[in-house]
Amino acid sequence: MLKIAKSHEWVKINDDGTAAIGISDYAQNELGDLVFVNLPQVGDELTAGEVFGDVESVKAVSDVYAPAGGTVIEINEELLDNPALINESAFDAWFVRLENVTEGDGLMTEEEYDAYVATL
């Protein structure tokens, strides 16, 4: 089930209770060509609503907030080498996988999020 935060990060919670998180297509489009990603390490604890990494376009650096809390069990090494994957397909380009997941407050469904970004 895909849910998206107002700060433009998505979380997909799997049936086994683990989750993947990334940034939305709207976010990648606003940021422009991404050239650098800073990710946490396996074992790090994320807190929903707090910064867990950053993405950099040629022009600027932007914090990425965790849409859900949990323990990092895997990071997407491919993104470190090729941040453009986020521009190509934002909802497939996961940043980290989590276990012991706690959803953040105020997450939206895809429809709600689309309606929200239409107002921006």
């Binding site: 050239v35 950053d54 950099e56 376009s57 040629v58």
Partner: protein, 367 residues
């Protein structure tokens, strides 16, 4: 303050330009192709920039040569008619008022191109320094400007110019009376990308037609419209200074490593005495190449261990060299290429090394 629109504003909107305020104008930072594609187009094919925000001024009259020569650090007397020179323009203390282009039409007619952000300051400064039989005019509002840059720009220009004899063939020369599809324009072999190319000046009405002609006729040459974002990464890759970053009222052109453009043996120019009195600079602009992971940016502090030694003036991931680089003014003890330093990026120390400028240099072959 309400931003001004250039004559090409509607075109930018039609082309899906992401419009941002810059130097009092609203201009596209990029189009839908994105900054990296725009940057690469200029290095490998060609790109078209609206630079109508740039300011233009003229100095005319019997004493035009003396006055122009007095304003700038290069030797204007040594210029030939039809030649262009890049030059710093100093204040009395030897700091930089602006960096400008001087076009010598003849000894009594000069055309100057100045930074948009400095236009009013420059115009007031230059006007205040005029002496003798001379007329100074700010003509910025009656001039539109395009930059066509990239290896394919020559083939494209040959295709659209009405008379190929009016196409400037040599680097840093210009033709005042050229025309493109019947629209009169001044064309120079200049640019701010480190690539070969042209800058085109015409009336605000005609510049729109010329813009359209270049995009419609240039498909074969791979031309795409490019925004301010690519303009900045291209100039940074080519290590060209940008006023407000590498240049300022309190930075001397020698500190900015523009020695080549400062002719101290010229008998007179504003700032000359101050530059001579200051002697060899104790700090100079140099290149930094990131050896660790990350991107260094403007305002980041540069360290040697615990010692703060400078600040990054410009920095980014440069698309063509595909590496994170920056420029900083560092004490002369740190200028040797290979010198290890660290840059503080949001609380994280990123290892860098000093490298010679520029980061990118085009292969020289042009006609």
């Amino acid at each position: 303050m309400e931003e001004l629109k250039t004559p090409l504003y509607e075109r930018h909107v039609e082309l899906d330009g992401k419009m941002v305020p810059f130097a009092g104008y609203i201009l596209p930072v990029q189009y839908k192709t994105g900054l990296i594609a725009e940057h690469m187009a200029v290095r490998t094919a060609c790109g078209l920039f609206d630079v109508s925000h740039m300011g233009e001024a003229t100095i005319c009259g019997k004493d035009a040569l003396y006055n122009t020569n007095n304003l700038v650090t290069v030797d204007v007397e040594a210029m030939t008619d039809g030649q262009v020179k890049y030059t710093p323009m100093c204040n009395d203390e030897g700091g930089v008022v602006d960096d400008i282009l001087v076009y010598r039409i003849d000894a009594e007619h000069f055309y100057l191109v100045i930074n948009a952000a400095n236009r009013h300051k420059d115009v007031a400064w230059m006007r205040s320094k005029m002496t003798g039989e001379v007329e100074f005019n700010d003509i910025s509002d009656s001039v539109g400007q395009l930059a066509l840059q990239g290896p394919n720009s020559i083939a494209l220009m040959k295709k659209i110019i009405d008379d190929d004899n009016t196409r400037p063939k040599k680097y840093y020369t210009f033709i005042k009376e050229a025309s493109i599809h019947g629209k009169r324009c001044l064309i120079s072999r200049t640019g701010y990308t480190g690539e070969l190319g042209y800058e085109i000046y015409a009336s605000p009405e005609d510049i729109v037609d010329i813009f359209d002609v270049i995009l419609s006729e240039g498909k074969e040459q791979g031309v795409i419209p490019c925004g301010l974002g690519a303009r900045d990464t291209l100039r940074l890759e080519a290590a060209m200074p940008l006023y407000g970053h590498e240049l300022a009222d309190d930075i001397s052109p020698l500190e900015a490593s523009l020695d080549f453009f400062v002719k101290l043996d010229k008998p007179y120019f504003i700032g000359r005495d101050a530059l001579i009195a200051k002697g060899e600079p104790t700090r100079k602009r140099t290149g930094l190449s990131v050896t660790g992971r990350g991107i260094i940016r403007e305002h980041c502090d540069v360290y040697d261990g615990d010692k703060l030694i400078g600040v990054v003036s410009s920095g980014t991931m440069c698309p063509f060299v595909n590496h994170a680089v920056g420029m900083a003014m560092l004490p002369t003890a740190y200028l040797e290429p290979g010198t290890k330093v660290e840059v503080d990026v949001r609380g994280r120390r990123i290892p860098c090394e000093v490298v010679a400028l520029p980061f990118y240099k085009k292969e020289t072959k042009a006609k």
